[in-house]
């Protein structure tokens, strides 16, 4: 889980040009300089990386990096069990 979390943070840092050190997991994405268009591209990058598809319902919950990690980790787990 820790490794996955780190990978996700790396992807977000790269996609959104935010320093890893400045990432506060609970900060609102917009406050980190990640607007709705950038967050959309981040989620797509993670979907491609882990070959997952996040539902509309789960997309709704994504307002912070911690939520992105939780949703992506959940989908990755689901995929492993398939």
């Amino acid at each position: 889980m820790k490794q996955l979390e780190q990978e996700i943070i790396n992807t977000i840092s790269e996609e959104a040009a935010v320093d890893k050190g400045e990432i506060n997991l609970d900060a609102n994405l917009y406050d980190l300089g990640i607007d709705s268009l950038s967050s959309l591209e981040i989620v797509v990058a993670l979907e491609k990386k882990y070959d997952i598809r996040i539902s509309e319902n789960s997309l709704k919950k994504i307002n912070t990096i911690r939520e992105i990690i939780r949703v992506v980790a959940g989908e990755v787990e689901k995929k492993k069990k398939e």
């Binding site: 040009a17 917009y30 300089g33 607007d35 709705s36 268009l37 950038s38 959309l40 591209e41 989620v43 797509v44 979907e47 491609k48 539902s55 509309e56 319902n57 997309l59 709704k60």
Partner: protein, 440 residues
């Protein structure tokens, strides 16, 4: 000597019902936040034209009422504002004048209403600031500031002469997007447009290399910037556009621009846009109704495009570029059915984002003059209500109340999270299949 350059920033909505509804609609708030945080490019350009021995401060004023104590450490203050915030700008100007600091005021609104502005400022800039600012500074230094500075031949200032904006004045963490201008004006002659009329007719473009140089400068401060091209219509000249996008590609930026639907006809252009980092195009579709499009511009160009709107949006979005489709309600051809038509169109076209605003007669525009002549303005002066969300005239085929109700209804329908997420998921599925950006 020190000059304070001040911009009234933020988005205003006077209609209480809409303001209250707006805060509950995430998509409405999101675009509002982006606009509110954009730096004032005109002031950064003026700063660059200010003599080197003069110190400049760049100040954004989101709410004049919150300014309890003025910073009076300036020899001169220059203020710019749009119509919706102009009374706030006048209040700020009056307070500086009372404190003994001379005030110069400029921008679109005061270009339309210079005599009004003169009541609050020492000097009014009529037209674009670049050709006038050096003279204003020289006159001020020589203690002979004039009441009015008027651009002699509006619309003729060559953008190749425009200096590198002083991006260094901006605090990096305060801005999610940085504005860059590539052109001024628009070949379409829409009756309601203030920007492409008051600063002179015609379309002027900045040389590609100047724009690229500006972006490289921005990258020194923001290594991976999100650029908002602050133009009326960026991709009018397709040859210029392709040359520009090819040079933009290696810079690895993300960008947003306003343009017209003609970009959909050029597949090569769309591919270049995607690979050079285009995240969104804001396109003035204006209406879904042919009756409403008829007559909004002299050549009815937009009316002629209407039959191809759905296909064009699909073509743009299929190339990995989201479309923010803009619609205006209250046009003369609109009936009360327009609100449902727009809602249905947005759903069918799967526009990622949409912007529905009310027809707004900005001062001195042809629309303003016509509605005034027809006795349809609710008041002669209503500048603080030029928000694009407040109604200032009697619509032709419905009542003011019906227009207001319809606007509120369409907002609730299109900006709900559920509808937005549907459109977002659709677009995400498209870009998942596309190659990485920058690798054509």
């Amino acid at each position: 000597m020190k000059v304070g350059l001040m911009a009234l920033s933020g988005v205003r909505v006077r209609n209480e019902k809409l303001a209250k509804l707006g805060v509950t609609l995430p998509q409405f708030v999101s675009r509002g936040k982006v606009i509110a945080q954009l730096p004032s490019l005109s002031l950064l350009i003026i700063a660059a034209m200010t003599p080197e021995d003069v110190e400049v401060d760049y100040v954004e004023v989101p709410d004049v009422r919150q300014v309890k104590e003025l910073n009076t450490g300036y020899d001169l203050v220059a203020i710019t504002s749009y119509s919706a915030q102009i009374y706030e700008a006048y209040e700020l100007a009056s307070r500086y004048k009372e404190a003994g600091v001379p005030v110069v005021i400029g921008g679109l609104h005061v270009t339309a209403e210079p005599e009004e502005a003169k009541r609050y400022a020492d000097s009014v800039v009529i037209g674009e600031a670049e050709p006038l600012w050096p003279r204003i500074m020289a006159d001020f230094k020589n203690k002979r500031l004039q009441p009015f500075y008027r651009e002699e031949r509006p619309g003729t200032y060559a953008l190749s002469d425009s200096p590198m904006p002083r991006y260094d004045l901006l605090a990096p963490k305060q801005y999610n997007r940085i504005t860059v201008q590539t052109s001024r004006g628009c070949p379409h002659d829409c009756e309601f447009c203030a920007g492409s009329k008051l600063f002179g007719k015609g379309f002027r473009q900045k040389p590609v290399d100047s724009v690229i140089k500006e972006i490289k400068k921005i990258k020194e401060k923001w290594p991976k910037p999100f650029i908002e091209f602050a133009d009326d219509n960026t991709f009018v000249d397709k040859k210029w556009s392709k040359d520009f996008l090819k040079k933009l590609m290696p810079l690895e930026i993300k960008w947003f621009a306003e343009t017209d639907i003609s970009v959909a006809d050029d597949e090569e252009l769309l591919k270049l846009m995607y690979h050079s980092g285009c995240y969104q195009l804001l396109i003035g579709l204006e209406s879904t109704s042919e009756d409403s499009l008829n007559g909004i511009e002299a050549h009815n160009w937009k009316l002629k495009q209407r039959h191809g709107y759905l296909e064009a949006i699909d073509r743009i979005q299929s190339n990995g570029i989201t479309v923010n489709g803009c619609f205006i309600v209250g046009l003369d051809g609109d009936t009360t059915g327009i609100f449902r038509d727009i809602r249905d169109f947005i759903e069918k076209s799967r526009l990622l984002e949409a912007q529905v605003t009310v027809l707004t007669p900005y001062p001195r525009t042809p629309l303003y003059q016509r509605l005034r002549a027809e006795g349809r303005l609710l008041k002669d002066e209503f500048w603080d209500r030029c928000t694009m969300f407040d109604i200032n005239f009697r619509p032709r085929n419905m009542s003011v109340e019906e227009l207001e109700q319809g606007l509120l209804w369409v907002f609730k329908e299109i900006y709900t999270e559920k509808e937005y997420l549907k459109r977002k998921r659709h677009y995400m599925d498209i870009i998942k299949k596309l190659p990485e950006r920058g690798q054509p």
